[in-house]
Amino acid sequence: MARERRQRVLSAIANSDGTSPVTEHLCLAAVDLAGVTGAAISLMSGADTEATVWATDGIRNVEELQYTLGEGPGIDAHHTGNSVLVPDLRQVTAWPAFAPSAMEAGVTATFCFPLQIGAAGIGTINLYRDEAGPLDRDQLADSVMLADVATQVVLGLQAESPPEELHQLLSQRPDWHWPVHQATGMVAVQLHVELPEALLRLRAHAYANDRRLGDVAADVVARRLRLEADA
């Protein structure tokens, strides 16, 4: 039974439409198997460190929302090591900032699975759907297995990299997240604060101005935006 499921999951990955990176295949397979609208894989380490490795079309915004706001079901899944299943965001009181913003972006249901080996979590694979409703039993089991496979893929890729270097396929979208950290460094100097505080200020600015963290960061890096000390 488990073997058949694994076969099905692996076939879905191999047969998906992605043009090349395996990370794209993983996300597309997830969408196909779970019957959802979009999927994203993000790596996480510690409180403020994350990198979205891949997101299917139109999903990047919602995925990043969690990291802009510092809250969300994916973040919870990573911290607890348990999957977080939300068949209807309208019914939950958790994530008072993320939930309404996600819904505004057209997401009504989300299912987040930790990428976990033993006690160590490396991130999550998050599924998003426009319509409310749970995953059925097969979709759920397939998703859990896909998360397992994704974990092994990510670790497998990293095992091939020299130490201290993220595998190329895991840092393929440099424009997505590195500017956030660059901007954090700049803001830390500008406002004479520590890095965590600088990131908080960037997030606060993004939220207050209803902008994506990545866009705010890009503006800071391009020196189109400078945060004021009392912002």
Partner: protein
Amino acid sequence: MIEQTASTTREQRLAQTFVELADTLVDDFDVVDFLHTLVERCVELLDVSEAGLLLADSSGALQVMAASNERAHVLELFQLQNEEGPCLDCYNDGEPVYSENIADDTGRWPSFAAAAMEAGFQSVQALPMRLRSEVFGALNLFSTGLGRVTDQDESTGQALADVATIGLVQERLLSEAEATTHQLQGALNSRVVVEQAKGVIAEQSTVDMDEAFARLRSYARNHNRRLSEVAREVITGTINARALTAD
């Protein structure tokens, strides 16, 4: 009636054993404890006198991982099977190997047979610890009596050996995976730190990110230090960002 009770007790004890072993697999896995429990249960549940578990190390040599009896002459009996003996044959072939009367097998295993009989054992069985095509070692069962273990005991013994194999493989995989996970987190953290340092340099020296990176890398190379280490020191101010140049 009495027979039935004895068999039920044995069944219960067997079931208990599997549950116990399965539990160990899931929770904090202690290899030594796990294997020790296994050999103890073998002696308790099967009609044998002593049991030992041998695993092949990275060079293929069989090492005693657990024994029901720690006395030197018994341990040696396991250990010398690196040269010859049922365990070695079992490990090489991946199939059960047995001797119903060790005295008849002095030709097959001259040193082992002598040592086994000296220790008071008359029969021996080795069951492979095997997962699909890979053999990891062998479970060794000794008896002071003659003859082979019953079919039922052999299948129970094999089942216990299988559980041991799964536990060990899982533990090995977990260790490797955890090592890679730490490496991944390390790489991610290092990358983030480097990006943050670029921002600090860019702001302090009013340069763009490419120039900032060039200066960071130049310092690291000139001082033969890791990029992420230098980045951390730029962030804390230990290294003066403004003093960095690209040459």
